[in-house]
Symmetry: C2
Subunit: 326 residues, 2 copies
């Protein structure tokens, strides 16, 4: 008897890693659909088998892997950075937009329109060395806290999505970020937050140049837009960086529509996934209207296209990675 | 006695993979320097140890990984492609440059200058779907043979460099191509020829766009230059695609100077490598003068900068991968 108990425990311990739930913060139908897909493409000899080299999964970042309310976190960095620069040299505040940013007044900043926003982005993102810029982002992540949750911004990543990324990699996928956010901004935290190394981060960018400064080679960020990694730009960015059509794409807004469309067209098993923000209590609830993360066409067509619509409120038992960190 | 012989054989077999020469087509000092570097950065606990994630190696393609004489192979593709298109529709031959290309007359083509070359590149590389373009390149590689060697172009890769790429990957390096050649052109053969997958190929590119054609999403190659991955563009391309400073760079011309400079500046063990074309008999001999692969500053400064100058004639016992393929 004792022997049988021992053998049972041993078997349980041995089976443990195989039987463990790969997506513990997920529940319901979307979880089942995702696991079915991953199992189908990884089953050697199965009808839907995909060779590991072609198991490419791409994910939007803002609103898909981490939160994006009340405004894109990168804009909060920009505003905080203008305030920091102005504290050292107030003469940089040459416009209403920059003054609003330095005062942390988002309403006044919004009133300056798109041009004002571009001024704030320029002041915080351009004509600086790439090294210095990434140091600035890193320092900001250490200090800044979200106004509603009080969390570090890089702890407002979605725990279920972090689990999904890890699960995909465990099953031989390469996981990429394909985001409208800044490529060099995201690289500062993507590896620690998501396990995604710099070469697998694709994003929007401004031009940069190679310069010798005091005999040392330096990459300088310029001031012109180089690539806008949004909407139809996402498939273009994917084929430029990866050179291969993904088989899984995840997003949360109509800015991801073309990426999901591109990924899920063609032969073989393919999966599109939309994160639907339905949880006003634990996160935010928004879709068809608003200034950020607007999802209309995606909501209308997801069913017909066989895309998984993740109901954040129902399908996720936990939201932020940072909630479990205390 | 018999037992001892058996044990000896067993030990030899077991040691085999460890003791095998990783660079069998190499000899001399450059081989020693490269192996010393690789061993130093891979030795856990050693002073020069580099974590595998940071073992990034970048290589130019034309003249570094495969030959580039009498002209860049991509230009030969362009000329052959114009001839192929003209056979289907002679009305495309609207200029002297295009007529020269269709006739395979490189001398007449050269006489039309840079503008003529751009016309030929445009006719063969632009306003075509990415899929069709890569099919064209693939078909060309199957059919075309080099005028001097009679080999397939993708067999005129340098066997010693193919060995080096494999050796580096075996030692935990990520190997990248960073070339002035077309990013989507090189991706057609880089995986088979070098073991380098599409996402590790960086090159020059033209703009592209995402379009729906007959209800199917298609990436269309446009007509404007998007990125020129040459000279100071190489470090920029590296930081855009990889986001990380390499520790090993290989090139063959002054177009690679900034890439080697960028790679070998800074703390830790770093290696720059120049392929010096010194073998007029088995390959070609050229450096300071000519229309292709000009190497002046690199030759002048290699010693002082500690870069390895590979003497093709002396250091390589074999040149082309295709020589051993029969
Ligand atoms: Ca988004
Ligand atoms: Ca070259």
């Amino acid at each position: 008897m004792r022997l049988f108990v021992g053998a049972g425990l041993l078997a349980a311990a041995w089976m443990g890693p195989v039987m463990a739930d790969p997506l513990p913060s997920w529940q319901g139908e979307s979880k089942e659909k995702i696991i079915s897909f991953v199992e189908a493409v990884s089953e050697v000899g199965g009808a839907d088998y995909v060779t590991p080299a072609d198991r490419v999964a791409v994910f939007d970042n803002d609103g898909t892997l981490w939160a994006e309310q009340p405004v894109y976190f990168q804009l909060i960095f920009a505003v905080d950075q203008v305030a920091k620069l102005a504290a050292q040299d107030p003469s940089i505040l040459t416009s209403d937009a920059l003054k609003a940013a330095a005062a942390g007044d988002y309403e006044a900043l919004a009133a300056t329109g798109k041009e004002g926003l571009l001024e704030v982005l320029a002041a915080s993102h351009t004509e600086v060395s790439l090294y210095q810029f990434q140091q600035d982002v890193s320092a900001w992540l250490e200090e800044a806290r979200h106004p509603k949750t009080g969390m570090r911004y890089d702890e407002m990543t979605y725990q279920p999505m972090v689990e999904l990324l890890r699960y995909l990699r465990d099953e031989g996928f390469q996981t990429y970020i394909v985001s409208g956010g800044g490529i060099q901004f995201m690289r500062v935290f993507a590896e620690d937050a998501y396990g995604i190394p710099p070469q697998q981060v694709i994003g929007s960018s401004i031009t940069s140049s190679y310069e010798m400064i005091d005999g040392v080679p330096v990459i300088m960020k310029g001031a012109e837009l180089f690539f806008n990694d949004d909407k139809a730009g996402k498939p273009v960015g994917i084929m430029h960086h990866i050179g291969k059509q993904p088989i899984l794409a995840g997003g949360n807004s109509d800015g991801d529509f073309e990426m999901l469309e591109f990924t899920t067209t063609g032969e073989g098993a393919r999966l599109g996934v939309y994160v639907h923000h339905t949880d006003a209590e634990r996160e935010w609830a928004y879709d068809r209207e608003g200034h950020i993360g607007v999802l209309n066409r995606g909501l209308d067509e997801a069913d017909a296209r066989g895309w998984v619509l993740i109901d954040m409120k129902e399908d996720w038992s936990r939201i932020f990675t940072g909630e479990g960190a205390e």
